[in-house]
Symmetry: none
Subunit: 231 residues, 2 copies
DNA sequence: CCAATGCTTCGAGGGCGATCGAAGTGTTGC
DNA sequence: GCAACACTTCGATCGCCCTCGAAGCATTGG
């Protein structure tokens, strides 16, 4: 089975300390430059360049040229999931907390990150509001930001032009929400919106979980800026 | 971060072709002897011994002495999940190529065990049916058994309370199916359901393979008990 | 006991790849 | 244009670890 060789190849790529640092450093979904990743891994630029090329060719990373910088990010949620599964094994026995199906699940339903965008009641509410206001069109299999929507995001401080210029990544796509059973906003614009909310302090991550909570100010800002009403 | 070293160590262990063969060979949850694993990996007994010791010390495998044999198996579902996540990245060729389907591949696609739960067309069909009937919610990143679902499993003779009481293991989680490209049911409840099907004689393991076949009675029982319609 | 089997330990060989210095290409800013 | 910056390519070094032969335990069966 030739498949096995590829299995080992991929695992081996994650099996070098330097590359491991790079991969875990990219887990938040951001795109980092080669220099940043080199510093993060504690190696010289040449070494980092070699690592990044190999991981890109193997399909673990995607790279975007932007001027004299090269931005690298994880190629897909599947890659992030693999890294997460390794991290879980690498973590010391934190398993002490039994992860009860109580407040935590409720928190996950209310709002969480799905790879690099927002999901749960929060994510679906945002998508619904944007759709209702004509800023967004979103179906099961595809989606699009309207001209109105682009204007809205731009005026909120999210540079949509820059996102589309990045080329390879799809600007807007739906992602089916497991708790709400309806699509929420993913793609480059979904990731940008998520980052925006974190940066502005509108949402905060719950320690040791994918769950996020909306701050009082965030709730107000989301309503005023994006017309989102969180019930 | 000392954690990073352990991340790389674990990934590197999976990154050797020989060890990769061993790990994937243990994915059905069975325990194999060192000799069997050596043959599977295509290496001598000495080499295999070294590999097995390292993987055991790293916590990937558990070993059980039994006379002059030493049985090795995956240490936990978390290990199996890591392997599965790597396998999924290793098989992107499913998109481009129509995938030559030998009889054995066809059997694997139809139904197989994924460590300790059911996968393939069988696994996805079960998950879909449970979701449609409101017994289960399952997305890319998380899932949950509904109150209705708990009642269904209990009445079928699966003690859900006992599973949740176990504490550490997650009751319900999705596992992305590599042949169907959609989530199927994993976690404690997925394992319990799989065991239930074997115990009742609804499914049988194909000799020397992870593939399973559904017996005529099993097909009927799955429909009557869990509302599963296998096309 | 002795031979056979399963597995491990020891030691040596050998290849792969991680690393960095040096040099080259492309881009930005003045 | 020139200098600074970001990144890549090339080449050489060197250490790690994969591998197997040989020998050493451990267990089983006769």
């Amino acid at each position: 089975m030739p498949n096995n060789a590829r299995f080992a190849e991929i695992a081996a790529l994650a099996g070098d300390p330097g590359r491991a640092s790079m991969l875990t450093g990219l887990m938040d979904g951001r795109a980092l430059t080669a220099s940043e990743l080199a510093r993060l891994a504690g190696v010289t630029a040449q070494t980092a360049s070699s690592h990044l090329m190999r991981m890109t060719e193997a399909g673990l990373l995607l790279v975007e040229k932007q001027g004299r910088h090269r931005y690298h990010r994880l190629a897909s949620p599947a890659v992030a999931q693999m890294i997460e599964s390794i991290m879980r094994l690498a973590a010391p026995a934190v398993d002490s907390k039994p992860v009860r199906t109580g407040p935590r699940d409720a928190a996950l339903r209310a709002g969480r990150t799905c790879y690099d965008h927002l999901a749960g009641h929060l994510g679906v509410s945002i998508a619904d509001s944007l759709i209702d206001a004509g800023h967004l069109e979103l179906g099961i299999d595809a989606g699009e930001v309207t001209a109105n929507g682009i204007h809205l995001f731009e005026s909120a401080g999210i540079n949509v032009e820059a996102l589309t210029a990045k080329g390879s990544r799809i600007l807007c796509r739906p992602c089916l929400d497991w708790s709400e059973r309806r699509p929420h906003l993913a793609g480059a614009i979904g990731a940008a919106l998520c980052t925006h909310c974190f940066d502005k302090g509108w949402i905060r991550r719950v320690e040791g979980s994918r769950a996020v909570t909306v701050t009082p100010n965030g709730r107000r800002q989301l309503r005023e800026t994006f017309g989102v009403n969180l019930s």
